[in-house]
Amino acid sequence: MAEPIRIHTPFTEEDSHKLKIGDSVLITGEIYAARDAAHKKMCEALAKGEKLPIDWHNKMVYYLGPTPAKPGDPIGSCGPTTSGRMDAYTPTMLEQGIKGMIGKGSRSKEVVDSMKKNGVTYFAAVGGAAALIAKSVKKYEVLAYPELGPEALARLTVEDFPAIVVIDCEGNNLYDVNQEKYRTLKGY
């Protein structure tokens, strides 16, 4: 594996265009946690013409619902959740200016089309590496929807948060390329 690329937020479309699939990155700055229920609430707000709790311009979203922090810790275990569950909401959210998404697993064609249109990069964090990933989180602040508990919209201050580019803003897909490369299965 090549040396990781260091990324500092805010994350712009220009930054996004510099990355390609397979790039290993370390993210420093602020990323924003939201998952199923927060996405639903935000898309409902947009449909009603309401303002969102934060301005998503040049921000990175992290699909996450952490465990509660132990006393003295900024956050509990905090690995990625399955991104595909957010696909129904994602094109709408990308129109709000998000340039980076961090999660795990495949995305729909509609999401990839919207990524290409908006110059967005999709990163994978290692699913299930939640105690390890917590080491890179320095601060966790709930910004909206506290009633959702672990699903609240929150800001994470991170230092060298590890991730890998899996779909770049041209629509190239590391999952497809690598699965094909290592697939020896015949007849199924």
Partner: protein, 280 residues
């Protein structure tokens, strides 16, 4: 008749919830290390390095291995000569889940109703409890917290007898290929074959409480476990980002079924194949 206080059940369940969340079973940990040695993809190796390191941090610092600490499945094997006193059995178990998830800083991931009002119950109850009456005067408790990234990717196929062995393999591989890299591989696969639709599904969950080093006692099923493991490792799914370590183990449980049927249920578990057991 031997008596067992319900409070002891609550305490034990609470402890097992924490243990399962923090400590990856040794066989799974060793399976990951073995996978790291043989993994061909460089990015797959890097992912496995992170997963192994994560297991060590979780174990050494008593932290949840994964943020999805699951919906709590609890298997109870109750000796018919045991008398539980001082409370209701299911209530004691649910109290234990609430206590364990609260004290252990585990995530509460259960909503009270699935469609119309998805409100979090705030203590991860109720658990999914299966009770079996067995000979003896002991109580065996197995806690299997099940994360839903992988749970969402399981499936069931109601095959017919003519489908036979090849049909079973095809059904399992269809579910696995459809799940692909989404259930946080390297995965552990539990399969229930036979029974009714529901019985097959429960057997697939029981299969996951067995060590990945173990085999079904019947040689034909043991061979099927090995054959399916090999096939899944040929898919290229790998440790999430493509590679050769897609699956750490396949466990099959089977049971008698109807003359017209051949149910096959597949529960996919992520690499956090968590379970903890205690006999009281």
């Amino acid at each position: 008749m031997r008596e067992l206080d319900a409070k002891q059940i609550t305490e034990t369940v609470a402890q097992l919830c924490k243990e399962a969340a923090y400590y990856l079973p040794k066989d799974v940990y060793e399976g990951l290390k073995k996978g790291r040695e043989t993994e061909k993809s460089p990015v797959g190796q890097a992912v496995l390095d992170q997963i192994i390191k994560n297991a060590e941090i979780a174990r050494d610092e008593d932290r949840p291995y994964c943020q999805d600490t699951g919906m709590t499945i609890v298997f109870l094997e109750v000796g018919q000569d045991l008398h539980i006193v001082g409370g209701d059995l299911e209530e004691a178990v649910n109290d234990g889940i609430a206590k364990g998830y609260t004290e252990g800083y585990l995530r509460k991931s259960v909503v009270a109703e699935p469609i119309f009002n998805r409100v979090n119950t705030q203590n991860n109850t109720p658990g999914v409890i299966y009770t079996k009456i067995v000979p003896g005067d002991k109580l065996k408790i197995t806690v299997e917290p099940k994360g839903f990234g992988s749970e969402n990717k399981g499936g069931i196929k109601m095959l017919v007898p003519a489908d036979g062995l090849e049909g079973v393999k095809k059904a399992v591989m269809e579910i696995i290929l459809h799940a692909s890299m989404n259930p946080c591989p390297p995965m552990v696969v539990g399969i229930g074959i036979g029974g009714t639709m529901d019985r097959a599904a429960v057997m697939s969950k029981i299969a996951l409480t067995r060590s990945i080093d173990s085999h079904n006692p019947m040689p034909e099923y043991a061979k099927l476990e090995d054959d399916l493991l090999e096939l899944i490792n040929e898919t290229g799914i790998g440790p999430q980002l493509g590679g050769t370590t897609s699956c750490l183990g396949v466990n099959i449980e089977w049971g008698p079924t109807h003359i017209a049927g051949l149910p096959v249920a597949v529960t996919i578990c992520c690499h956090a194949c968590r379970h903890a057991k205690r006999v009281l």
